[in-house]
């Protein structure tokens, strides 16, 4: 069996995997990082989004061996010193979730957006979430939370209401 090593949430990790092991399976089953969810088998729902070398990808549509040597960040790696990431805090504040199943993917996707576009318009946020499906919220509060996080992170006084 191939062995892989990569950096996950700042820690060097490794293990034996089958070639066919998906990155999401490695994260969940071998590393116990169950915050990354699997919501479909057609690469469409976005519940499994993580960052690989700084960009958001679907961990269900990447092999663990493909990510060998990469820097991977999952939802568990966002908080710093017990402080929620501003996007996580905004989802809580603005009720950006109901059942929470889509939330890790939504947040990882949103963090990628804000890293590349610090002040997106509402239309840009909605377009960006093309690959993230939510069965509960109707998206409205998710968009509101991301707009608020953007304002918060770029130090704007005006919080989205």
């Amino acid at each position: 069996m191939p062995s892989v090593s990569m950096t996950v949430n700042g820690k060097q990790v490794g293990g034996e995997v089958e070639s066919r092991t998906l990155l999401v399976e490695f994260l969940r089953n071998q590393l116990g990082l169950t915050g990354t969810h699997v919501g479909c088998d057609t690469s469409q729902c976005g519940c499994c989004v993580v960052h690989v070398d700084g960009r958001s990808v679907k961990a269900c549509t990447m092999l663990a061996v493909q990510a060998a040597g990469s820097q991977v960040t999952t939802i568990e790696g966002l908080a710093r010193n017990g402080q929620l990431h501003p996007v996580q805090a905004a989802f809580r504040e603005h009720h950006g979730l109901q059942c929470g199943f889509c939330t890790p993917g939504m947040i990882m996707s949103a963090v990628d957006l804000l890293q590349h576009n610090a002040n997106p318009t509402e239309a840009e946020v909605r377009e960006w979430l093309e690959g993230n499906l939510c069965r509960c919220t109707g998206y409205h509060n998710i968009v509101k939370a991301i707009m608020a996080a953007a304002a918060d992170m770029s130090g704007h006084a005006k919080a989205a209401e």
Binding site: E18, S56, W128, G131
Partner: protein, 265 residues
């Protein structure tokens, strides 16, 4: 997914050799089509050859007035490229419309055209711009590259290296996406080039992307949306599925062509 042996060659020569040595080996680029296929057990390769570590397959360069894009260049890189935006903005705009951000972060130009999904976007751009596909063996003009639904002129042991796109005078792409999958139900790429007018239709044809020659003739002397008013699109040969009937796709071909022409100016 069935298991397989995984290879990640560092050079094109090594990848070609691996393909030659393993009869049931398959190439993988961004995996955005191939991994879902493997997950559904629709393919059972003995070996998977990941092209992700081959530096010579990546990158965007300005060449002979046009742009050359390496096979492993991600859709997102094309969409964001300052060179592509300046030289062929319609191509950057098309890349931005593919799938969703996460698909664009991994999916590649070479993977998209080698797969030749009839609903894929890039085949429309290659045909519309009269691009040339450069492979490990030869150069193939776009008009000869796409040979049918999920079929190309590629041989089993041939690898796409890059695509060269000449610069058009004017060009635009208009896409009617499937609201669920984002693939094109119909996409039309129009271009006014030194060699004449080209109109390519993707998403609609049963045998993949094709050129709409009647529209090209109508536009040759009159580059404007009104020039194709008198044309009708024959629905025979167009896809009919749960997403849209052939009649509806035929209607959309003309509507999207007019929108593309209006956008190209």
């Amino acid at each position: 997914m069935y298991d397989f042996a995984y290879h990640k060659p560092a050079s094109l020569a090594d990848a070609v050799k691996l393909l030659a040595d393993h009869e049931d080996a398959k190439l993988m680029a961004g995996g955005q089509t191939y991994i879902p296929t493997l997950k559904q057990r629709l393919a059972r390769p003995s070996d998977v050859i990941d092209l992700g570590a081959i530096a010579e397959l990546r990158g965007i360069t300005e060449e002979a007035g046009g742009v050359t894009i390496g096979a492993m260049t991600r859709h997102g890189e094309v969409a964001e490229s300052a060179v592509v935006r300046r030289v062929i903005p319609a191509l950057a705009a098309l890349a931005e419309l593919i799938g969703d951000p996460q698909v664009r972060n991994l999916g590649t130009l070479g993977g998209s055209i080698s797969n030749n999904d009839p609903a894929a976007d890039y085949p429309g751009a290659l045909l519309g711009l009269g691009a040339t596909v450069r492979t490990s063996k030869r150069q193939i003009p776009a008009d000869q590259f796409f040979t049918g639904m999920f079929e190309t002129a590629l041989e089993r042991d041939e690898i796409v290296k890059a695509v060269h796109f000449p610069r058009p005078e004017k060009a635009a792409y208009a896409k009617f996406p499937n609201p669920a999958s984002r693939y094109s139900m119909v996409g039309v790429f129009v271009a006014k080039t030194g060699g004449g007018v080209r109109v390519a239709v993707t998403g609609a044809g049963q045998s993949g992307a094709y050129r709409w020659t009647a529209a090209e003739q109508a536009l040759a002397g009159n580059w404007s949306p009104a020039a194709i008013d008198g044309l009708t699109v024959d629905p025979s040969g167009l896809n009919s599925d749960i997403h849209a009937s052939a009649d509806y796709r035929a209607h959309l071909v003309k509507v999207m062509a007019k929108r593309a022409l209006a956008a190209a100016g």
